[in-house]
């Protein structure tokens, strides 16, 4: 009996990720966690008592009429703040601090895998989240008991906030892995936290209070579940992808691993999530769910495309060779990413991406236009999300082609610059037209932005099943890209720019690292 329990104790102890054990020990000994825990419980208690005291006169038949809804909104907002800002920021701070103080290097040279480091960090954040949530559970239950909010709504928001918290922690850990200086790694995280707060500040009150449209009956609509599933899938993929970024260099804490391409893709991912959440809010408020199914597909397509576009471009990155080697020897266990890096599969993989793009871009393209439709409902919140939707569009239409063409045509030097300038043109066109349409007070803010063109095609596709109409947008976008390319080429061929490029090329020559055996994947010769 003793031996069995001893064996169980050994197995239980060995089960835990070392990072989780360390983080938990530090959190319990440190000050930040207990302080925030007490503040959160204190604020929740005060808010709860204040609402109850205020509503005392409305006490009716054993239930305080309706105040549960108010209390729930306050509690959920506090919980959201803690789980989507405080915990991720603290997790990112700890990681960034370790890197800045070089204690991470000691960990890096142990036999612990980057996989374990990343997931250990994230898991410890999740455990912290669970502790915060458990502290709030009694208050949330009480808010339900006081009436005014339905149990499915309470449960849904608990899951939603928790999910958002996990995603934020993943993003926080990822961002902290980008830069060694503490402030630099926290700046993008703070920016992200700010975006999350701004975009979600009206989410809970808007959804809870608009009970005509968002009561528990909404759970009976299949569009709701597909939308929720889409967002969940988005977060999961985003998390996986973000982890892959951290894992990708395979020298996770090493410096200079955050390339321009990765940051581009990461920005796209964040834009996706924000846009998806924003669109979801608009739909929920308007009760306009009839096209949701296509919309859901569009949203799910975004992170999928981003992952694979990135993987595609990574071929040019010598570090990807290391991942390839690890796949060969069976160290890389994550199957989706394994697929992306299968040796020799590059050409086929390129075609696959092309096929995915052709199939899914029409749906993805509907994002901004659908947002604009919601705008016409005159909702104030829509104003907030239209620029975000434009932002998402710009990133999608500009960054993905950049990543795509860069590899296909082996773009280097001058041509690379050409692509960047082209992308710059497209961004500029989108921004200018988007703002012009907004400021001219058009009923359809994206009418003149070019997005309308394929949006309209999609509309006809959805309504009358006109597949040809949906495909029409492709030549339009290709035309736009070609036009920008031609203009860029003319610009780059001007004498001054040409000289600049030549000078740049001269300064770059001879700096390529000699890591031939790593790039070729051949064993080194001793």
């Amino acid at each position: 009996m003793f031996k069995i329990s001893q064996k169980f104790a050994d197995a239980f102890d060995d089960f835990w990720n070392p990072i989780v054990v360390k983080e938990m020990r530090q959190a319990l000994r440190g000050r930040i966690f207990p302080i925030f825990f007490l503040i959160m419980v204190g604020v929740a208690t005060v808010a709860f008592l204040m609402f109850v005291a205020k509503a005392e006169s409305g006490y009716q038949s054993g239930r305080v009429s309706g105040i549960g809804k108010d209390i729930f909104v306050v509690l959920a907002s506090i919980l959201m703040l803690v789980s989507m800002v405080v915990v991720p920021l603290n997790g990112a701070r700890r990681l960034a601090q370790e890197r800045a103080q070089r204690s991470f290097e000691l960990l890096q040279i142990s036999t612990i895998t980057p996989h374990k480091i990343v997931f250990g960090k994230i898991t410890s954040c999740v455990i912290e989240l669970i502790l915060y949530f458990s502290a709030m559970t009694p208050f949330l239950v009480l808010s339900y008991m006081l009436g005014g909010v339905e149990l499915p709504v309470v449960l849904f928001y608990i899951v939603l906030i928790f999910w958002g918290g996990v995603a934020s922690c993943i993003i926080g850990v990822t961002l902290a892995s980008y830069s060694s200086p503490l402030r630099m790694s926290q700046a993008p995280l703070a920016l992200f936290g700010g975006v999350v707060i701004i975009t979600s500040i009206g989410l809970i009150p808007a959804m809870v209070y608009s009970t005509e449209r968002f009561d528990s009956s909404i759970f009976e609509q299949w569009e709701f579940w597909t939308t929720a599933l889409s967002i969940a899938v988005g977060f999961v993929i985003a998390g996986g992808w973000a982890t892959a970024i951290a894992k990708n260099p395979y020298k996770f804490p090493g410096a200079n691993r955050s390339t321009e391409v990765r940051l581009w893709a990461f920005a796209m991912l964040v834009a996706y999530m924000v846009t998806a959440c924003g669109n979801y809010l608009l739909y929920a408020r308007s009760g306009y769910f009839d096209k949701m199914f296509f919309f859901v597909i569009a949203m799910s397509a975004y992170p999928f495309l981003f992952i694979h576009s990135l993987a595609f471009v990574k071929e040019s990155d010598p570090l990807s060779q290391r991942v390839k080697r690890d796949i060969r020897v069976g160290r890389y266990r994550n199957l989706p990413f394994k697929f992306a890096f299968l040796p020799g599969g590059l050409r086929g993989f390129g075609w696959l991406i092309l096929a995915i793009l052709l199939l899914l871009i029409p749906f993805a393209g509907s994002l901004g236009w659908e947002t604009s439709r919601s705008y016409s409902y005159g909702e104030r919140t829509a104003d907030l999300f239209v620029p975000l939707a434009i932002f998402g569009h710009i990133l999608f239409w500009c960054a993905v082609p950049y990543l795509f063409f860069r590899r296909i045509f082996k773009i280097e030097g001058r041509d690379n610059l050409l692509v960047i300038v082209t992308v710059g043109w497209i961004v500029l066109i989108h921004i200018l037209l988007g703002f012009v349409s907004i400021f001219t007070g058009s009923d359809h803010p994206m009418y003149w932005s070019g997005l309308f063109l394929y949006g309209e095609s999609l509309d006809s596709f959805y309504r009358v099943g006109n597949l040809a109409g949906a495909i029409l947008f492709l030549p339009i976008m290709v035309g736009l890209v070609l036009l920008a390319w031609i203009v860029s080429r003319l610009f780059l061929d001007s004498g001054e720019v040409r000289d600049l490029i030549r000078a740049g090329r001269r300064s770059l020559s001879g700096t390529t690292p000699d890591v031939a055996h790593r790039r070729s994947g051949n064993p080194p010769t001793e």
Partner: protein
């Protein structure tokens, strides 16, 4: 060879920190890595420890490449950096336990090793103390303990004695001696050359990213020592001593006092023996001592590095 550095180069932009460095260290040897600040010692060691990647070249630890088999290298290598920050809110025991877990050591084995290492590094009495409250010497012991926790074959130490008081240095040297006696291979960089000399079997001298000299200390000394300062003690009249010395062709700078003669001798060992024989053969000269002063590591270092690259 336990460590083999092959044409290692590391560039940071236009700056070449390590330039085509090659050297080898046999198993069980304590090897010194000597050079002025910014010579490329730490960069080489960081590449060896798989923290950084080389621009070109490679390092093989027990046959494993730091580029292609970093995981294997980490299993057999312990690295002690020149400076490190401990984790806040953590005790000595927890710190060591964390690294033991990070090396994947299972619970029972982990507890055994932790006890052994804590005892070896004399940290057992400080097990419950917070790591941030440790003195510099104790922190170095802690880092050594962390380095040894997975029982590595190769131990790389970057300036391990820097900032330690004399007692802590001696204790630290004793720990290294004990480990060296167990057959572990060491690469130690240090600025305190006299101390390093007492520990190391061989040495590599690096300056501005280039290896200037490598090999056993005795070999280098012999190679570099083109002349020897000799001190001869005698009794009796100093005049015949001075005359005999000046008559010998390779003797220079003779300074004779009452009972001592100091001079520089440019000959080899055979000629040195011939000189001694000549002095002893003279009835008027009674030699009591005949000693050649040997260059220490510091002198060798100064001689090699002075003005050669810089």
């Amino acid at each position: 060879m336990m460590i083999r550095v092959n044409n290692l180069t590391k560039r940071f932009g236009n700056f070449t920190a390590v330039d085509d460095v090659s050297f080898e260290i046999p198993q069980g040897e304590v090897f010194g890595f000597v050079g002025p600040n910014g010579a490329g010692k730490t960069t080489t060691m960081r590449i060896m420890a798989t923290i950084d990647e080389p621009t070109s070249g490679d390092i093989f630890i027990d046959g494993y490449s730091v580029i292609d088999d970093p995981e294997q290298v980490r299993r057999i290598m312990g690295f002690m950096p020149d400076q490190y920050e401990t984790y806040p809110n953590m005790t000595v025991w927890e710190f060591m336990d964390f690294y033991a877990r990070a090396y994947g050591i299972r619970r029972r084995e982990r507890l055994k090793r932790l006890n052994a290492i804590m005892e070896f590094t004399a940290l057992d009495k400080l097990a419950e103390k917070e790591v941030n409250a440790l003195s510099k010497g104790m922190r170095q012991r802690l880092c050594l303990g962390k380095t040894l926790i997975h029982d590595p074959k190769v131990i790389v130490m970057d300036e391990p004695a820097a900032g330690l008081d004399p007692r802590a240095r001696i204790e630290f040297r004793e720990l290294v001696d004990t480990l060296a006696g167990q057959g572990k291979t060491f690469l130690i960089s240090s600025h305190i050359l006299t101390e390093l000399e007492e520990m190391v079997d061989g040495v590599a001298i690096i300056e501005q990213g280039q290896i200037l000299k490598t090999g056993g200390i005795a070999g280098i000394r012999q190679e570099l020592q083109s002349f020897t300062e000799i001190v001869a003690a005698f009794i009796g009249d100093p005049a015949p001593v001075e005359r005999s010395l000046l008559e010998f062709p390779k003797v220079e700078r003779v300074v004779v006092t009452d009972h001592t003669a100091r001079f520089v001798f440019n000959g080899d060992a055979e000629e040195r023996a011939a000189l001694l024989k000549k002095l002893c053969a003279d009835d008027r000269i009674k030699i009591t001592e005949f000693t050649g002063k040997v260059q220490d590591l510091e002198e060798i270092f100064m001689k090699i590095t002075d003005g050669k690259v810089q």
